[in-house]
Amino acid sequence: MPTPDYSQGPDRWALLQEVSEFLFAEADLLDERRYDEWLDLLADDYQYSVPLRMNVEYADADTRGETKAGSEVCWFDEPKSTVELRVMQLATGVHWAEEPVSRVSHLVTNVRIEEVAWPEVKLSSRFLVYRNRVADETDFFVGRRQDTLRKTDDGWKVVRRYLLLDQTVLLAKNLSVFL
């Protein structure tokens, strides 16, 4: 069997369809709080980064518009082991930020393949995470997202997730949901 050509044509479309469905299914797991199944989709070397955005000059927007993951303060910049701690916290029943449980919807759109370096695929997308809490507490987390997925014998795994949230001052009181 010839190696699929992911650079163009039907194979690329099929790949886009496949990874998009993976992202949508993953979003459903999060919104349904099926965290153990969700954690299984994260590679052991998973890294989750959400840098801080800053008001900078137009000319500096690409270089200084956000803090640097890996060395500076971010909303999140952590490995899978920390994500697992967060899941544990949610399950304690006394994590008051999410008690009572919020209603959350993850919308993933504009999915595009940026690069294929088999078995890894780099994707660009937009995210909109809607959270409603208690009664009228409503938050929108919106921005750009870059994911690196890896095809394994056990299906697709997320290796890297990098999100640029379109806020400098977080307008929600906390980030107790996964973006």
Partner: protein, 497 residues
Amino acid sequence: MTTGSTSNPCPAPPPQAEDPRRARDLVDLETGQISREVFFNQEIFDLEMKNLFPRAWLFVGHASQVPNPGDYFSSWMGSDPVLLTRDVDGGIFVLLNSCRHRGMRVCRYDEGNTMQFTCPYHAWSYSMDGSLVNVPGDLFGVPHMKAAYSGKLDKQNWGLVRCPKVYNYKGLVFANWDENAEDFLDYVGDFHWWLDNLADAFDGTPGETEVFHGVLKWRIKSNWKFVSENFLGDTYHGASTHASVEAVGIGPGGRGKRRHGERQDQGGHSTGRMKTSFRNGHGASDNLAYEIAYPEFIEPEMNEYFDQAWATRKERLDAEGRRLGGRGPATMFPNMSFAAGFPRSILVAHPISPTETEVWRWFLTDKKAPEPVREWLRQYYMRYGGPAGMTEQDDMENWDYATQASKGVVAQRYPYNYQQGLGTEQLSELDRAVHSNHAISGEVNARAFYRRWSEFVDNLSWDELIEIAKSDDRIDAIIRRQEEEAVTEAAAGKVNH
């Protein structure tokens, strides 16, 4: 044609005509009750903005955020946007970020480097270069200067308004709008030991700390004083509010260890951990004699660094006759909170309305910390604090829904209870300070905070503010109580004989 003569720095505000007793009537120290109006009344909030924030020493930013000439950092002091700047000669200035012509915010960038702030509206420009202007921040360029002002505009009087009192305490930059305010060192008094522990390196080297790049900023639907009070000495909330993070274990030592890295017999309830409350409003959750060594880490390179740092610090402080405690959490009156241990972090609660606050958080590291230590701290800080932090997330839930449930008409009739430890305060060796008699309970810090708060909000003059806090009547009360107890014990002794 009048073209000049507004003084710079700004003149003191005119005296207020409000009822001089109002705020103090809302704070009942005898019975330990504080009116909910203190937190939710718009008039009270307006008085705070007028009488407290422009007269108190406020934390503006860290000197390591503006290391080079021309560097600036945008900050807030109460209701006013300010710029923390560094001029050509290395001097630090705090300037009101509002054009003197029509008030436009001349700089809307969070940080950067420039020798000239040019207002986008009509292009008045202000220079940070002392070779072009008398004092950095002075007006430099005015379009059509000659035609518009016949050359008579007195540029020296129309520079960006300069904050008259700025103090760089080991890199921590504080500012005060009131020229008549007491000097910074008098304002902090013996509370400076906590600031030292915040600003000094883990091995005690003075001022050898810097902040990580990136300030967490987030909005909460709550009064700013909920935030100040939380770090001032409210160790009572930890067991319930932070039960989930403590169950998980995110600190040094990992799972099963406390989130601040203490052993299970340290921190929390441990003996000797008394809170410290200062007459002038500052408060800390611990005391200088509460000396606990740095935590045990899983990582050998962390233990190596912190064991060495503790040993060096102990040697240094022992030689100076200083105690090793004083890590906080603590709040410097009115709205700067910090912890000087694990984590090591600064927080400012910027007031927006009675029920909205913008919270900022900075994280500190030793300047000379090796990369693995720096990185470990960075990751710990991020999983610990701020709106994404596993500890702080739960605080905001409490503050916001306490606010919602407190501001109803009926709810407003019932004061909050601040009676913990009332009449059980302990003497302190520190100047005009007392201690709680318990590590967890004890609201002595909050009572002193709100007393000082009411004195400011009632707009006592600086002379009066200084005079009224020259002695600490709580100390007299403790001595009286101890004498009475001695008499009672003596009497009981006689009966027993």
